[in-house]
Symmetry: none
Subunit: 194 residues, 4 copies
């Protein structure tokens, strides 16, 4: 079953979600036509399981760093570095599949799924920024502004992800955008100092 999920993940990275057929996954994992239906009734089910698995891995490192109260400068630059690497190696990303899934399903059906993905991400980014606030290197403009800023990070990275999928993304562009995000924190830092 792990064999199926690993194979499926490779397929989803390669072909997104909508174009993936059971046949693709069967071919990739070497299990028979019927064999796969023992575990999963549809491509949808496999996809959801793959996403569940990924969620577990995804934030573990950064969350650990935050919990260990490591220096904000370190954490944020690690975070950017990791995102940059991800954006530059987008052939290993499930983002395309995630988008196609979210786009194609009737909205009520995916609400729970999408909310989990989004709120987990929000929580993680917020916790990083909060770490900066606690360490006095990010301005404390109140919870609302912090949330807004966290959302802006997410939105920016989502926007970059689209460009990555369109292969319209250069390293230079990434650096430029992350520089802007950094400045937004730095600015606040200065203001804080005032």
């Amino acid at each position: 079953m792990k064999k199926i999920l690993d194979a499926a993940r490779r397929v989803f990275c390669r072909k997104g979600f909508l174009a993936v057929t059971m046949q693709d996954i069967i071919d990739e994992c070497g299990i028979s036509r019927g064999g796969i239906y023992i575990y999963f009734a549809s491509v949808d089910e496999i996809f959801l399981e793959v996403m569940k698995q990924r969620s577990k891995e995804k934030f573990s490192e950064v969350n650990k760093a935050v919990q260990n109260f490591q220096p904000f400068g370190q954490v944020i630059s690690d975070y950017f570095a990791r995102q940059k690497e991800r954006l530059l190696n987008f052939e290993n990303s499930l983002f395309r599949a995630y988008c196609e899934y979210i786009f194609s399903k009737p909205k009520p059906a995916v609400q729970a799924f999408r909310d989990i993905q989004f709120s987990q991400l929000q929580k993680t980014v917020e916790s990083i920024l909060l770490l900066g606030v606690l360490q006095g290197v990010v301005a404390n403009d109140g919870k609302e502004k912090l949330q807004r800023l966290a959302n802006h990070f997410i939105v920016t990275i989502d926007g970059l992800s689209i460009l990555a999928l369109a292969e319209a993304l250069t390293e230079e562009l990434i650096d430029g955008q992350f520089a802007i995000l950094n400045e937004m924190i730095q600015k606040k830092e200065n203001e804080n100092a005032n």
Copy 2:
């Protein structure tokens, strides 16, 4: 043929790109199966033509405003208002279809298409910001920084578009993100004043 393209556009708005079959377009425009193949050999061709049409309309108004050297404050707030309306009425948008198309095609094949879309957008946003610079209300930090800022606008709006498609987008969230973009200009204005 206009009938085909109009019908196809409605279909692409409704179902994206990947899920659209010739049958869908046939049903929508009321022309026969064979009749459509006289003009277009595939859904792909129809899609490209629809996108070409849309490009023509898309930037006409804002470009005109810029060319007429209208007040930057007016132009930018119009731009945000228009984007906001678009994001809140995303069932009429071709963004999903655009994403699915870009995602699904082998990259070299869509490079030209994607570059046209992206550079048109860049040019328009840059021209707006340049208007601000010329009118002395946006900081003149050099061409590179301006381009970076323009990209940030684009990236942010793309990020919001994803959320719109996932129906994870509230009016509040849009306002918050546009406020951040506005502050980035204002900030620069202040600095400029210093």
Copy 3:
């Protein structure tokens, strides 16, 4: 389309209803896999159409004889002869398919269909018996009794049909049963005479 229905009828006679696949009908009529779906969406639809066609043919001759007020003795013996021939050549009958269809469907779904079949049959048999009454060769015991007798004819023939399908039916057995039905009319005739 006539080609499809004729082929389908042969298949239903040979294999009943439940065991018939689209493939069977496709093989029999020589139309392509997709071609058949232009006219019919499922085996069910084809079956219903075949049955509709048959209903039209089925009672035409005997109904005509009744309407022409032909001698009862002639009509009834023709009817028995025809039924006997049908029972002895049951490989050309749709009875098996009809049974399997009726058996396998959720009852509300087939109610209308089954009622039409049954009431047509009832009406025809009743009209024959009524002919006998009008000609004074069948006892007039009231409408209710006549209906009951008509039902008995139907029930008997259905019972014989089951035996035919089981190939447990000899010519002798048929003759014996039809003799009983004949006696029932004769008896009444005698009584009538009393």
Copy 4:
């Protein structure tokens, strides 16, 4: 193994014969896939065993009544009552499965099976009628006529069974048909008296 047969019987009552899969029986009896194949190689084998079991139960009571030389009036009215109850509770009957089995198999293969079922039934009905003859309440028209009458009872009940499966059977209709069968005996009784 009894567990298997009991479960299978419930399934056959519910779904007939053709639509029953091994999975259905597995689900119903809670024994594993492989476990069932130890005892039975196919659904066919299970069905035959279920039918064999049922034959043992089926006629025991009426046969006992006949052997005990109980009053014919009692025996026949018990028999009709039992049949009526069976017809009105046809969801517990194996008749549908029996029909589908008989219909679907190549005739030589089921000849023995079908003959056993039919001749057992014939024998039982004949023995009841013979009881009537012996008690002087049914006309003694010779063995051949008696057999013919027995067959008519069977044929009628088979015909009613079809209607039961089609849910076209009312209590009124059953009563009417059984009344006809009763009259056939009564008539003979009267004649006998003459």
